[in-house]
Amino acid sequence: MSASPVIGPNAGGDQAVALEGLVVRSHPLLRKAAHNRSLIAGASILGVMILLAVLAPWIDRYPPLEQDLTNILALPSWEHWLGTDQLGRDVWSRLLWAGRFDLATGFLVVLIPITIGTIIGTLAGYYKGWPDTVLSRIIDVVMAFPYYVLIITLVFVVGKGIRGIFIAFALTDWVTYARTVRSSTLVVGRLGWSSAAKGGGLSDPRILGRHILPNTITQAIVYATSDIVYVILAVVTLGYLGLGIQAPAPDWGSMIFDGQPFMTTRWWLSTIPGLCVVITGIGLSLLGDGLADVLRPE
């Protein structure tokens, strides 16, 4: 500490109050988010990953597909920060572009099931009756299958690549959202304010859209953060198995696979894409934990 005079006993405090004031004036959710460490940590990690992915076209050093067969499996150097792979492609550039493909696929793939699942779950939980019973049995059946087996089988059937991934997840992944949203709709629908809204003569679309959904969607959003991890893992796994994003497009999974034969001499070829998957996973998990805390209704 310097010996400079403190202006008033509460100088530091005032600053804190002023800062606090900025946050307090905003929405209560933002106020809670600003104090949630795991949310901030998760968002930062993920932010960096997304930033790198978005900026890939500007910060890559070589086109990710450009081969240089005279310079394969090069060691890291100023020209190739992470060396080159078995076809002489720059690993750093491929890593960035792979992140771009994998993250984009993860986020986009989740959008379809979250939409379908939330709509179906809300309607089933609100109107109940036999459609709800039928739906719940379908959900049970889909859930009874091992997740990966189902996805891999479907991708096999529908065809490899992005299209197959989208279809496979759209067909299977909505069940978790439907189940989560259905059960919270059931709970919320029994509360006094739901009855009050009905008793007040509000229309069903209004009750569902403005009251039920804002209270139940948080569950789906929180689950989505961990679901994106599953999806990215699945995309990477499919890539590793040759069913995912198709060569020569870069993908962390195929990079891990391609690097495997050179594990003893060029260990980073497989390890670094693997680390990228792990770091993304940690970021999303922290974000999910934080969101669950922040969005929990009081």
Partner: protein, 332 residues
Amino acid sequence: MSDPALRVDGLVVEVTRDHERFRAVDGVSLAVERGRSIGLVGESGCGKSLTLRAIMGLLPDRAAAVEGRVTAVGAELPLAGKGVAAARRGRLGMIFQDPGTGLDPVMTCGYQIAEAPRRVLGMSRAQADERALELLRLVGIPDVERRMRSYPYELSGGTRQRVMIAIALSSEPKVLLCDEPTTALDVTIQAQILRLLVDLQEEMGLSIVFVTHELALVGELCEDVCVMYAGRLVETGRTADLLARPLHPYTIGLLRSAVDLDAEVTAPVPIPGSLPDPLNRPSGCAFHPRCFLARPACETADVALAPAGPGRASACLYVEELMTRGLGAGVP
């Protein structure tokens, strides 16, 4: 006598439990005059809340109103089906027991109060907001401008209950159905909310149906009272008269089991036993296993609410004995 604001005739509500159906509300009839209030009293589980919810058309899934007529402000209201909410619009409003779950946690109070005026009564946004401010002032909330923007978790239980009353009033009902609105509140707040309901009744000419398990509260608020036991009305009458001279052993039991701070001997006397299992209803008078007056005839006789003096009715076989011997008189 003018048309009552709310009239219920022979209401029967069936509940399904463990694949068996039983009548949780069995032939309840009541009427509330314009600008008056009626109390519906009984132990938890006797069917008071179901009666209220059936009137409002908000029965839970396993319950259904199978018989009976509900008329309010000159129109018969459907008990179930599509037009349930529409028919009650502008006629009935309801407030619920638990202020903790009575308000939508993700919407501001102002939004929730202004919603019905805007969406149901077709006001503009500005008009609806103005109306919401008015209603907040009406239910006695200070600093209304700030409260409009408050989320429910920022409010105390009493304030929430006031906001819930404002929401119930926002669709401009003539009859307010209150489902134990004070049970979850502190005693001091209870008194304030009761006071508010009395004021609203007088100022707006509102009719009130007040469900509670505390007879004492009914004495504060309601002109008339109905005592309910195991799904049926067992006694009705003017509140002051009924409290002073109860004509059914169950009412006597309720009065004796309440703590009375004015009486000199204050030990409350509980009613022995508990409510019968609705799937195993006792024969004859359902109250006979717990009744201090029970005689063999009570186990077989068909009891029904019968007139017992001016403005009074009781379902006790020995009501005359109660009247002449004054068994109930002077119970604390």
